[in-house]
């Protein structure tokens, strides 16, 4: 016992939590998680979260959609069955491509949007039936919880961490021992 203590420090204001996090991080404390009812802007760099790469993924998915649409249109409308309109069969992809722009655009968006959202659900672990992991039901209402782990802050003692947290304007402190 002792090495694996989790601190759940509760705040009732996002700015207080942010200031607190700033102070703690300046002292060399590692903040392992923050649970909040809405996004706290400017918190991510303080607690050392990297920017998400979902945007890049969306771009790649969009390119996939674009490529599939181009290949599909070429195969369906040019190679497999060159449709004959007014005696002018579709023999050239480039010359007929303009008519396929709407479809190509829609498929690009379709792929980018849905594949990104699926990725988002998977990396977030938000999937139907997943249990919620917020430490207190009030964190989806008006409370903000900062999670510290003793194991990640081995240079401080349990008591030191507790004292430092107390100075940041918390309203509740919950300690959990995990094996």
């Amino acid at each position: 016992m002792g090495s694996n203590v989790v601190f759940y420090a509760m705040y009732n204001d996002d700015d207080v939590l942010k200031d607190g996090a700033k102070k703690l991080v300046a002292k060399g404390v590692k903040v392992s998680e923050v649970f909040s009812p809405f996004p706290i802007h400017g918190l991510d760099p303080i607690i050392g979260l990297k920017e998400t790469r979902l945007g890049i993924m969306a771009f790649i998915y969009g390119l996939t959609g674009l490529a599939l649409a181009l290949i599909g249109m070429r195969y369906i409308m040019i190679t497999d069955w060159p449709m004959n309109i007014g005696g002018k069969p579709n023999f050239s992809f480039l010359e007929n491509m303009l008519a396929f722009v709407p479809i190509i655009f829609e498929l690009t968006v379709l792929f980018a949007a849905h594949a990104m959202v699926i990725t988002y659900f998977l990396v977030n672990k938000t999937i139907p039936g997943m249990p919620a992991q917020n430490p207190d039901p009030r964190t989806t209402d008006d409370r903000f919880v900062m999670e510290l782990r003793l194991s990640e802050n081995s240079k401080f003692s349990e008591k030191e961490l507790e004292e430092m947290l107390m100075e940041t304007g918390i309203v509740e402190l919950d300690l959990k021992h995990i094996k």
Partner: protein
Amino acid sequence: MHKEATIREPLVLGHKTYHQVTEDVCKPIEGKAPKTWYILFAIAAIIGVYGIGCILYLLGTGIGTWGLNKTINWAWDITNFVWWVGIGHAGTLISAVLLLFRQKWRMAINRSAEAMTIFAVFMAGIFPLIHMGRIWVAYWVMPLPNQFGSLWPNFNSPLLWDVFAISTYLSVSLVFWYIGLIPDFSTIRDRAKKPVAKKIYSMLSFGWSGRAKQWSRFETVSLVLAGLATPLVFSVHSIVSFDFATSVIPGWHTTIFPPYFVAGAVFSGFAMVQTLMLVMRKAYNLEAYIHTKHIEYMNIVIMATGSIVGTAYITELFISWYSGVEYESYAFFNRATGPYWWAYATMMTCNVLSPQLMWFKKLRTSLSFTFVIAIVVNIGMWFERFVIITTSLHRDYLPSSWSMFYPTHIDIGIFVGTIGLFFVFFLLFTRYFPVLALNEVKTILKSSGQSYKDGTAKTPAFSIEEQHLADVKVKPSITNETIVSSVQEETKTAPVQKAVDPITDPVIDPALAKIVTSLGSTDATKKDDLKELTGLDAALEDKLNKIGILTFSQIANINPTADLGLLTAYLGNAGSQANLLAWKLEAEEKLKNDNN
């Protein structure tokens, strides 16, 4: 925290805390539905079921049950389709385009506007599907491998582009809407008391925990989806307009169609949002979140897009004459003066004239006027599609084929039925879903909330010292020392709690002082006993006296149309707009009796 210029009107009226936002939004979901909800739901359901009956009859009997004929082969079906798709444009426009432009006022309305979008697109989708006649082979519009060899749908056709545009739009809007709903569902989940509700909402919330990383991803996904949805919104109605514009029918064969259809769609969509919002804000007591300013902003959008539509109508008329194409000129001359002149006149009045009234601030900030105009615009936009579709077709090249369109009861039944079904969906949404993006509203509370802008609310909620002494509880204490310290803290709690009360020592806000001076001057000798007014207790009287409100005449001078939010913010819950007005009336009564 993002600071906002004080000159900007607040987006959330009165004093709201984060918890209050949750309460206000969750109340209609957790409480019992009012009687009117059941009545409206029953009416909508009956109409919807009648519509489904008509659809089933049509599917069993054939498209001949519509009033179509050889000349007019598209009429109400496509009119209704385009009308519904148009309505379905506002939601994603509000949430996507306004997100990219960082318009914070969208947050109060985007959730329900998106719901409206999705349900409207459902309704729109019904029409082309049943128009296929054999709905059970509807999947043939998809490029699926089949037993007919190289049989693919024709990707040169705008009708097929429509299939892709609308299904992409519907699915992306749905996903966008749901992404935003997940954190709000988690709020309801964590508040739910009944096990069944808890179970359902925890399924719906996908186990959302509100971790910092989740929120960071949430914001990125919302932004990227908004970026993707923005061109999508414009593409959908452009493609719908191609259904007409790529044909060679005079009256349809117009290059102006795509931008004009998109503007018209936004126009009608916002009108429908207004119609729904004005009722919803009242029914669910959301006046503090969706107030006159929001309605005014939407009216400005209606005015702008209405003007674009008006310009397009006039350009169309001009070009038909200027082109020198006989058929084209006749099509437009016939629209305005032929047998369908009344439809054209309705369209012109409702869509061109009525939105111009919004130039007057008095009119565009009037809620009842807005409601009337919103309905008028909805009617006008239906007629626009009817005029474009039917009047262009009813004069064939061969005069012997000229004809008129008369809707059958099936035409009417299906159209009215979709309105019923739409409201069935929308009413269910308002009953079980958070109608306001509550987590988003919380993010703008400090920058755009009235009490925060006035400085009457304390941010942070308590000062750090007060808070620390007030109620720090160390739950499972490990050492005896902490127990001792927490006990010591508890003993200090009582006196500190009092200091926490933000209004014990008010510094009178200049805006508040201005309101007080507008009520007329007075001196302390003429002081009335304000406690005589119902519900006004000694503490409130004290507060009123402190800011200089001493007499009944001052209270009678309260201007009911003015912004009383400041007073409410100062007085707290007891000083709500309703109470203030009740006191005003009572004070007037008292003054009258005194004079007699």
